[in-house]
Symmetry: C2
Subunit: 379 residues, 2 copies
């Protein structure tokens, strides 16, 4: 899912987004709640109508942004109090409140509010793939203690129960809350599995959350700074415990190889700002790895970013031209690089789906790793 934080995929129009192959986008509840406001969006008929995107939308709960962006937050059993990063205004988000906001937004998939550990205390994602299971002992590297992870997981379960109860009440009687204009009666709600990097906590979280009963489930609290192999381990431990007939969503991941590896471990759905954010920073993701477009070696390179790619950017423009636009600070550079990165991600997922259908996913996985490297690409 391309991330459309404030009702737009940064640098793109929706026809670019569709052309890149997107079927569903993600909107950020925190940002839309603060501006332009979920009540205004509800009066416009919901988020689909307001932003002019008639296709599926998933909204997060706002929790991740509260834990990573907002200032002076205070977590109690009731919910989170925080100050808006826009104007410092005092705000509050509760499990019921996050459900109500998303009911007004009318997304197709709403997420429950969860408590995160790690999001506010993360260190740069390391690429040290040699780290193994021993990392579990180096729990201080993760930025939180197991007892923190347990407390947040247990609170997340209690919050999930409240969010589900609120959701079901709104679904059964949309008129139950006079100030909640339900704009999409068919909205689904996903529960979120927490528990940090501890397998036992993850299993507990799965059992309790699946016990509440949601349309489907997400794995949260990963890609917040832990070593990538540890993330894979947690996904590999958790995903198979989730109901087989429902989509499994890994929140906030990741690099292209993460997608391949996490699909291998049972994940169906991803969201990440990486393809769009890295594009604006001049990084193209290709089947060979990362191409840093500002590098002087591309100044007269007439090849497309990725000769095997069918996106508009690769069909039309050279590395030399894209480098020129990026160096000149032209907005069009961000647009064209984003078009490529999104297409690359969505095409990778489409090829994965196809390979699964043909029973050849393991072959795709091997070939992918033979070609792809996280180190910047050489000419």
């Amino acid at each position: 899912m391309p991330v459309g934080t404030r009702g737009a995929i940064k640098g793109l129009t929706f026809r670019d987004v569709r052309d890149a192959g997107a079927e569903i986008i993600l909107g950020n509840t925190y940002h839309l709640h603060l501006r332009p406001g979920d009540r205004l969006i509800a009066r416009a008929g919901g988020l689909h109508a307001f932003i002019g995107w008639p296709h599926p939308i998933l909204t997060d709960s706002g929790g991740y942004q509260v834990f990573s962006l907002a200032a002076m937050r205070k977590v109690t059993e009731d919910g989170v109090a925080f100050r808006s990063h826009l104007d410092g205004a005092l705000c509050a988000l509760s499990p019921e409140g996050a459900t109500d906001i998303q009911a007004r937004l009318g997304s197709d998939i709403a997420m429950v509010l969860d408590e995160l550990v790690g999001a506010d205390n993360r260190y740069p994602i390391t690429d040290n793939r040699s780290l193994g299971a021993a990392d579990r002992d180096r729990i201080s590297d993760i930025g939180y203690r197991t007892s923190d992870a347990r407390a947040a997981m247990e609170r997340s379960v209690r919050w999930a129960r409240r969010a589900r109860a609120r959701m079901l009440r709104l679904r059964e009687d949309p008129a139950v809350a006079a100030d909640v204009q339900v704009t999409n009666p068919g909205q689904a709600q996903f529960g979120i599995i927490q528990g940090g990097v501890d397998p036992a906590l993850r299993t507990e979280s799965v059992q309790a959350t699946v016990g509440i009963g949601f349309e489907a489930y997400a794995i949260g609290g990963l890609s917040v700074g832990e070593p990538v192999d540890l993330m894979y381990e947690v996904v590999g431990h958790t995903a198979p415990q989730l109901p087989a007939g429902r989509p499994r969503y890994l929140m906030g991941t990741g690099m292209p190889d993460d997608l391949v590896e996490c699909v291998a471990r049972g994940i169906d759905l991803f969201d990440c700002v990486l393809p769009t954010r890295n594009a604006r920073n001049g990084q193209l993701l290709t089947r060979h790895g990362v191409l840093v477009i500002k590098n002087a070696q591309y100044s007269e390179d007439r090849r497309p970013p990725d000769s095997g790619c069918g996106c508009y950017t690769c069909r039309t423009f050279s590395r030399a031209y894209l480098r020129h636009l990026f160096m000149a600070g032209e907005m069009t550079a961000a647009t064209l690089l984003t078009v490529h990165n999104l297409y690359f991600y969505l095409d990778l997922m489409a090829r994965i789906r196809e390979a699964i259908g043909f029973g050849s996913f393991e072959k795709l996985r091997q070939e992918f790793h033979q070609t792809f490297s996280r180190r910047p690409q050489q000419p």
Copy 2:
């Protein structure tokens, strides 16, 4: 002609540009010469190949930017010496040099280097349409003296003669200059009429410039701060003296009503940053006039910017959504507003061409003025 200063129309991809109806774009020689450099572009096969736009391109001579952007410029009979606005590097532009640069760029239409008065000393364009012929006496308002205008006009004629001679030499024998890689042997060259706001100077300039003999002619040195009625007078005086069978190009104009009025006076071709720049500043041009999208009155306005407009933006998005994107600082706001403004300009020109064909241009002109106002639009 949409303005693609550095090889891109700001905020758009070329498929947006084509979709808006553009058949020809303008590239700025000054900017492209400084970065990425006309020699690099020539090695890539010329500007069309480098930027991936296979349709017509007009390049200016670079003179206007030297006179308006560059620092510490010094004009001599030989040409202009100046410092790059990018890095302060000492540069020089001569009539022959500007011709050579454009030969390397390989645009379809090259412009001669001219000397401008007014560009560096302009005051904000006034909208006081009540000013009449008496303005000619208030020549100090224009920012230059008639004697300055005469000197610049006469030098421009001498420069035009040198530019044409260079152009013809390159055309007859593309190998004549070892360091000039001619990338478009079919390039045309337009002369430029100068003479400020003085009718006698304009007539002199026409006679001398047409005497040299170019594929077609432009009127330069207007829209640099003079009252709009005075600009119309100069256009009305000058355009009819230019060869009837050749396109007449008014450089750097203007507002939508300027296009209608200057077509009425004999102009065929325009360029202006106004539709693209104003879009980035949140101003939409509509058949009613200027719509300032940030105004609070649009925060819940579900109508498109212009209900009579067929552009992607008006077909898809509401004023409320566009306002939200603009207030949030989303790049997509600039893109969507630019898509509309360009479509509006190009559609206006298309309707003008059609009306001329049907003999109903005067009717279009009257109806246009009945609807259009330069004052910000009321809801």
